[in-house]
Amino acid sequence: MYKITNKQELNSAVTLMDIEAPFVAQKAQAGQFIILRVDEEGERIPLTVSGFDRENGTVRVVFQRVGATTEKLHSKKVGETISDFVGPLGRETKLDGLKKVCIVGGGVGCAIALPIAEKLTAMGCDVTSVIGFRSKELLIFEEEFRKASSRLFVMTDDGSYGRQGNVCVPLNEMFEQGERFDEVITIGPLVMMKFVVLATKPTGIPCTVSMNPIMIDGTGMCGGCRLTLTRNGERMTKFACVDGPDFNGYEVDFDEVMARSSIYRNFERHAYEEACNLFKKEVE
């Protein structure tokens, strides 16, 4: 059993938790992920680590309540436990030798982008961050990003905070002004990453994306997380859990990844409705 030592509701949809898992905390690196199960009957869900405290043996995860499992996780209180927590899985984000980087985060993906920005800044790298949200109400980690970046652009879709527009707006402006980076690292919704890749492509700047597909074991066994890369004209299958979660954005078949991510849409909607009903009942 793994104890929840800290819980914060970052906004109406996103929750932060620190969970006691000393072995995982000892090894975790920015960019890696964990798999957890809330209880004995639950699903296994992958979450990318958004921080770790090696001394206290805790790992930080930030998740958006999008389904039955995340809703159930959110209902847990500090001091309570979850049944399984395994990791760290996947490869860490490669940051060696980077001097000037643009980080583009979207929504809850910003929670994963933040430790990368912090690590880069600690390495002496110049970090420009672009973070985007649907609205002001969903904004997270603005102060933290400001500290970890030499420049910060905050975007909202509805203009309720920062500038109105998507993350590609300031990115394109920078590129048009001749601004160049050693790398663009983007983490967020699939469709956002797809467009960041498209925007970056004409500049020839390497663009890394972080994938979080459906998976079970996280060790390469199920193959559910497979995605297709095109490298030198050749299509190849990779497993996000062992070959990723970071990939060269120019190689990823985003349309396929997006189609695959929706395979259980109907099942999940149904399960989520049931979970919500359940929690409503508990509250009443």
Partner: protein, 474 residues
Amino acid sequence: MAVNMNPKANPMPCQPPKKRAHNFNEVASGYSEGTAKDEALRCLNCKNPPCVEGCPVNIRIPDFITQIREGNYESAYKIISESSSLPAICGRVCPQETQCESKCIRGKKGESVGIGRLERFVADVHNRNNPGSVYETVATGYTVAVVGSGPAGLTCAGDLAKMGHMVTVFEALHTAGGVLVYGIPEFRLPKAIVRREVENLKALGVEIQTNMVIGKTLTVDELFEMGYDAVFIASGAGLPNFMNIPGESLNGVYSANEYLTRSNLMKAYKKDSATPLMRGGKVGVVGGGNVAMDAARTALRLGAEKVFIIYRRSRDELPARREEVEHAEEEGIELLTLCSPTAIIGYQNPDDRRDPKNGFVIGMDCIKMQLGEPDERGRRRPIEIPDSHFRLDLDTVIMAIGTSPNPLIKNTTEGLDVNSRGGIIVEGEGGKTTKSGVFAGGDAVTGAATVISAMGAGKQAAKAIDEYLNSLDR
């Protein structure tokens, strides 16, 4: 007692096909006491029993069968236990027809003795009557880390514990049992039996740590730093193979590993499970091994209206156990032999990019095959028959065409050599690897094989590890 000269073995009582195709209860219900005694009387008690040679762990078969005749079931169990750590499992999933039973003298004129059925009978009687096993050991003070809790790991752990060594088993998933829990379905091997075997090991003092991915959470070198004196790697053959044909990433295409794991380990076979899995419709399973049979029969039980097995060679070359193939066909699964997939076809609405059906499987293109010259392993090579393409309408495709060893441990363990296929290189039967103090066995060494061969490897490794520990200068 007079030998029973009936040329036919006592049949295994089974749930009727029409009924069992819709439930996950065990297909075979096992011999009654009377049937077991009657079958035991068919054994000739040969002086030089060929069946023992046919058994990968050399169980003293005529001796245990003699005990059944006398009604001494506990003595029979003890004899089996000398050689096999997991008799209730072996009695169910061993391919006896190609091992012990294939050598039985009775098989020359009629059917061989139902050795596997008798083994299962003995194990089930023991498990019903004995809530836990007591085993006295003298602690040696040595500690061994076993990586993986499948058949090789559990067997090795059990034997080492009986020798007095302290054993910790590290399992990557949340439940111990490896392929016995994620791969083999409930209707062929009830999970309660696996749980019981795991509990027996715990009673022997074996500690099991779940959620530990060796190669990630801890490395092999770190296990030595933590004080383990030896490490046994039994991590299995993890990575599913795909055919590299178009359409394999469409929604509705699964590896057999994923499909079976969702149903077995993640309990999608239960109606109220939180695990999503595509059910119903027409299902095509590609492959001809036991895993393909398991996947096909699982699909049927999950509500498929039609299940096909697509295999590129002929019926004679099917690697699955004959019994499994027969069971599958009785249940209504259609075998398409001499047939190979060339592409999986997905739905695409040309007028609506947002059609929710887009990207889901609607069929599979196949080509008919004929058998050519034998390959290096003696199996006749399948050759495509030109212009024989046809399309199968399908909603789900399950790829059951084998697995490759998982590279997580190799990639993080310096000095551990693997062969070109990724299997860990071992020297001799004991599974000694190229790294000092590290032993390996099961599918991690051989690639996908059987439960019993993995158990055999675990057994040999336990002996070799014991010798290694005793040679250590403390």
